[in-house]
Structures are given as C-alpha cells and as structure tokens.
C-alpha cells in the first residue's frame, strides 16, 4: 500500500472525536463560566466597584480559581468533559500557565518555571500583541488619512 493510500485508509477508519457531544458540553461549561463571571461582576458592582474595574476583577477571580483548581489536580478532570468550554475562556489560559509551572518546578525556578511557564500559553501572548500592533498601525493609518 502506498503512503497516500495508507493515510486515507487510516483516516477513513479512525474513530472521530464526538464533535456534537463535545460542542454541547463546551457550550454548557463555557456558558456556566460566563454566568459565574457575570455573578462576580454583579457582586463587585454591588460592593461599590466601578463597572470596568468589576469586570477586570471578575476576570482575575476566574484566573485565580482555574489556577487553584489546576494546583488541586481537579481542573484537568473537568476539562476532560468540558473541552473548549474550559479552554476558550480565560480559565484555559490560566490552566496552561499553572500546569506548566507545576511540571517545570522540578527543574528549578529559573530554567524550569521561569523559562517554561509560557511554553503553552506563550503563543497566545505573542500573537495577541502582534495582532494588536497590526490593528493599531492600520487604525492609525486610516485615521491619519480620513481623520
């Protein structure tokens, strides 16, 4: 069997991930995390915070909770079912950083934790800054031309 034939044979027979089921769970878990975020925003506003500050504080709270659950060894068990539901919100970013930090700890705080902490989450930071910069340049050019 030629390489291409074999690749097609393997792809045709491999059991696919249950996309519909995964999407439903992602919707439920992701939605619940957003509701939780909204609850935090409402609580913080009720306690006298400005809306913008309350929003940022709610994000920080979710980051903290995801990091804590990762450290307790619970997050990956939830994420196994939730999939994109826990990955896409800010919780996924928090988990990617914390889990890598825990793993790299045995290699020391400089070359381990320090050097490797962003090895999964790093691309998100790099391309977020890059796309932000590109957007900024385009925005500046447009406003400079059309005022």
């Amino acid at each position: 069997m030629k390489k291409q034939e074999y690749i097609e044979y393997v792809e045709s027979r491999a059991k696919k991930s249950p996309v519909l089921k995964n999407c439903c769970f992602a919707f439920l878990f992701g939605g619940s995390i957003c509701i939780l975020g909204q609850i935090f925003i409402d609580l913080y506003t009720m306690w006298g915070m400005e809306e913008k500050t309350a929003g940022t504080t709610a994000s920080i709270t979710l980051i903290f909770l995801a990091s804590l659950l990762t450290g307790l060894g619970v997050f990956d068990n939830i994420a196994k079912i939730a999939g994109a539901g826990t990955l896409v919100p800010i919780t996924g970013f928090s988990n990617a950083v914390t889990s890598q930090a825990i793993d790299a700890k045995s290699e020391g705080y400089v070359l381990g934790v320090g050097a490797k902490i962003f090895s999964i989450a790093g691309p998100v930071i790099v391309y977020a800054i890059l796309s932000g910069t590109v957007y900024g340049v385009i925005y500046y050019a447009i406003t400079a031309i059309w005022g």
Partner: protein, 331 residues
Amino acid sequence: MKNPIITLLNPPKISATYSVVGHKEAEGPLGNLFNEVCDNDKFEKETWEQAESEMQLRAIKGAIKSAGLQETEIDLILAGDLLNQCVGSNYALSSIDLPFVGLYGACSTCALGLAIGSCLYNGKILDTCICATSSHFCSSERQFRFPLEYGGQRTPTSQWTTTGAGAFALGKEGTVKITEILFGKAIDKGITDISNMGAAMAPSAIDTLKRYFQNSSHSPDYFDLIVTGDLGYEGSEILKDLLLGEGVDIRKNHVDCGLMIFDREGQDAHAGGSGCGCSAVVMACDIIPNLEKGILKDVLFVGTGALMSPISVFQGSSIPAISHLVHLSRG
C-alpha cells in the same frame, strides 16, 4: 536470498521475570499478577524521572533475585526507556555495579532487549543477562505531550503510557526459551498524528510478520498467541485487516499488550496502553508465566515502537516505526 530470521541453535532460557507497576495498571485486568505495585506512582522519589529509574531498578533487582542469582553472576544488563538520552535506565543502572548497554526502540525496546540478549547468549558471548525496560506515564507525558495538569481532551485513537517496568533474566535455567529472532525495519507510512500511534506502528508490525511467515516453515496457526506490544485498538485492527489482505490471517490468535493492560472503557484509556513498560510487564506477568505453566506453548512476541521525537513531530515529519520479533517456545 539469505533468510532474515535468526534461528538460535544455542537458545537462552528465561530464568525469571519481574514486573513493577503504578496504581492505574494495578487497577486493570492484570492487576493481581504484577510482582510489585506503587500506589502513588512516585516510588518514594522527588521527581517523575527519578520515580521511573527507581521502578526500573526494582524490576532489575527483582528479576535477579527471582532467578536465584547473585549480582556478580550477571554479565550484562540491556535496558531502555522512553526518556531523552535513556536517562530512566542510565540513572537506574548507576546504582548497580554491572556492565550496561542502553537501548532505544521506543515501545519495541522490550523485544529489542530480549532479541539482542538472546543473540549474545547464542553466540556464547555471555552466560547470563538481564533485559529491562520501563515507561512512566508522568515522565512521558511531560516529554512527549502536555503538562500533567493541563486540561485537554484526548482523541479516541490516543494511547495511555503505561507506568511500569519489566525485567527478564536470560540464562541457561528455565522452561521458556527464545528460539528465533527477526529484527525490524524502520518503516514510515506517512502518519503524522501523534495521537494515532497505533496507525503509525501497524505497518512495521505488518512488515515484520509478513517477512517472518514468508521465511518460516510455521504458519500463523502454529502459534498459541501472536502478541504485539503495543498497537492498541486502532493499530491492532489495522494490523489484522491489512495482514489478511496479504494472505496472513492472525485474527484467531492475536492479542495486544496495550489492550490487555487496561480496561479501555472503564479506565478511560481510549485506544489502550503504550510505552515500553507496557509490553514488558504484560510479558513478565502474564504471557511468560503462562508459557512456564504450559498453558501456552509457542508465542510470537512482536514489540512495536514509534520512533518520533517531540521536535520531529513539531516539524511536521511523519512517524517511522519499528517492530522486532521474538519467538518464545516452551521446553
């Protein structure tokens, strides 16, 4: 053309086997057959890498003791694992005062060690040797995939690295002998998906088994079992299907170590176990004892290994694989 099968005229015997596993393996279908279990997978060590070395060391010492040998009687230790530069074995063997050769054949290392050890015994280069391999879920996951606590979803074709170490003492005592060897070829059929290693490895197992039956007087029916380790569910199905297309029917007597070690559904192991500890502990705790008891008489053991590195995978290179064959016979 020269027959590629190496027939051993002075075949070594398996004097003893010893298996050490982690908690998940102990909860699996073979749970009560292992010699030693560590409930927290840490083996009283600080890091997962040290835990793997400790596990392999216990397996080696266990095999030497079970064979009734003194360390001074061992001529050579052949050992391997999945970690970069074989550190699992290197650190395990640094606390034993014996000559050691490190091997890398990914999940085929157990069969590779037995094959090389048998050839050396056959050539009267040594009288007694130990062949050992180990893999640890936590150290492998860190090296090949993601951090342990990372929240990701596995695909149905992915395999679960076994936490286990198996060791075999080869020498003149014993009831099970190694009579034939067939070394594998590195075969790359273009699979790039690291989550479908069964599919990457199956073509090499097909090649080795096809070459064996083309050059042997035995047919597949001659063997009580044809054991692959570890193709998992996906790779095993591909192997049986494509071999049948080549006119070799192994559907009746084929088993796979990756399918034996875990309850795939109940233990969330997806396509089954993998790692060079997987076939080692299954052979050590189940297949070889059954040969010793006379439940099995002739077994073909085909160790299958996927030969990628994390870098080669990131660079988009496809995964070559290798399968070494060992013929185990009672009497």
